[in-house]
Symmetry: C2
Subunit: 258 residues, 2 copies
């Protein structure tokens, strides 16, 4: 009996790509590529439960582009186009998502008014190696927070720049909450968003979305430096394989993300 | 005692990033980026023994750019600038390397004269999803094989295009051996060599190098389709962090690889 248990535990450990009990450290795992999302590859390719094997912290979007995803403290939240926050089921799927087992390497206090650019400068000074990935957890009080979400799409899927032309934008004031996001190196630009890519979730779990702008009054910026990046590409059932991922989509990304 | 053994096995399993007994399937693991190599980041960052945790098959180069690396059937070979094949020690380091636990998904017989371009067309027809990675194991008889190696460099390291200007080139005729390599998607271009990147090792382990050209008369092309790509970046002790990896180095790559 003990031998069988031993065997089962070792097998389970090997089968779980994220390892036993916790995901690998300092590893940003990403499902699909940002350029595939720009090209309209919106079919969910991995489930919420599978994503959690790779971390407790992250961002992404849902099947058919149905809102912005925030993974915080091991729980997945969906900010849909109505601006409200939902809790997707474990088998809900995602076409694009990043996750990390967040462990802070740096903790940067914020005590004066700090906007998006100010936060970037703060992090870039503290984590000057721009050739590494890092995850950012920014918790605090925000005088202003401008977020957007995206509405679910129908096939044939339009490219992301078409969708974001009419994106619902929400301006929040005097709100507590957490920004969840990543800074990625320039060399990863066709694969992920280079530079900063942030989503927000309010402390009361009532609002959030893809961050367009903000002004923070106080709080803390936590940085997890990550030297490992695991890219998991969609299988043959996805339109990923036939997407044109050869051209430079930097200008499209700029339009879609800002 | 049994409990202690159980504990030790599970802990060992968790500590080994490549999992128990074997590396993760369908995962190409790469240490550092091709653009960092082009920029002259030649300091070894991982050891041969650590590389083997990620696969039994792969290519790369050695600390200070001391030759071409071939990982075949779990053994690492070093083709130095004299064209000879050496066996590096387990703690020898590599600045750039790719590895995979090779498991063939496709087996393509070759029975007519096939050159580099012909092999590319053969693989592209059989594995048409150009947005996935694949590993290639090409075993057979070669009427012609043109390979190069690179000589070890001293600090301050020159960029790769400077080194390859005077690279030793070897032309082999009527030789049996194995080509070890990868096909990578265009979107990964700053990170790895897009398209085909092949090294060769002769059956008698006496010759090899980075493949520039060949003509195969008979043999088999085995393809391992890989939907996962793990990038492991150098730590702070490397010059990687200060390398300029923001500009497009496609033209440099073309010069250095061809």
């Amino acid at each position: 009996m003990k031998r069988i248990l031993l065997y089962l535990m070792v097998v389970a450990c090997c089968l779980n790509p994220a390892g036993c009990a916790s995901a690998p450290q300092n590893t940003v795992t990403q499902f699909s590529t940002i350029d595939a999302l720009l090209a309209g590859v919106y079919e969910g390719q991995t489930t919420c439960s599978r994503l959690l094997e790779y971390g407790d912290f992250g961002i992404g979007t849902f099947d058919s582009l149905d809102g912005e995803m925030i993974l915080l403290d091991g729980k997945i939240y969906q900010v849909r186009a109505d601006g409200k926050v939902y809790r997707p089921s474990a088998d809900h799927t995602l076409p694009f998502a990043c996750a990390v087992a967040f462990r802070k390497d740096l903790s940067l206090p914020v005590s004066t008014d700090t906007d998006f650019g100010g936060m970037e400068r703060l992090v870039d000074r503290a984590a000057p190696n721009m050739n590494l990935f890092c995850a950012l957890r920014i918790e605090g009080h925000f005088a202003y927070m401008k977020v957007r979400s995206v509405p679910a799409q129908r096939k044939p899927y339009p490219p992301l720049t078409e969708v974001t032309k009419n994106q619902p934008v929400f301006e929040l004031e005097r709100i507590k909450g957490t920004i969840v996001g990543f800074r990625a190196p320039q060399f990863a630009k066709a694969i992920t968003v280079p530079g900063y890519h942030l989503h927000f979730l309010s402390e009361d779990f009532q609002a959030g979305g893809h961050v367009l702008d903000f002004s923070m009054t106080s709080g803390t910026v936590e940085v997890d430096l990550c030297n490992r990046f695991l890219l998991v590409l969609p299988g043959e059932e996805s339109s990923f394989g036939s997407a044109d991922l050869t051209r430079d989509r930097s200008a499209e990304l700029e339009k879609a993300e800002k």
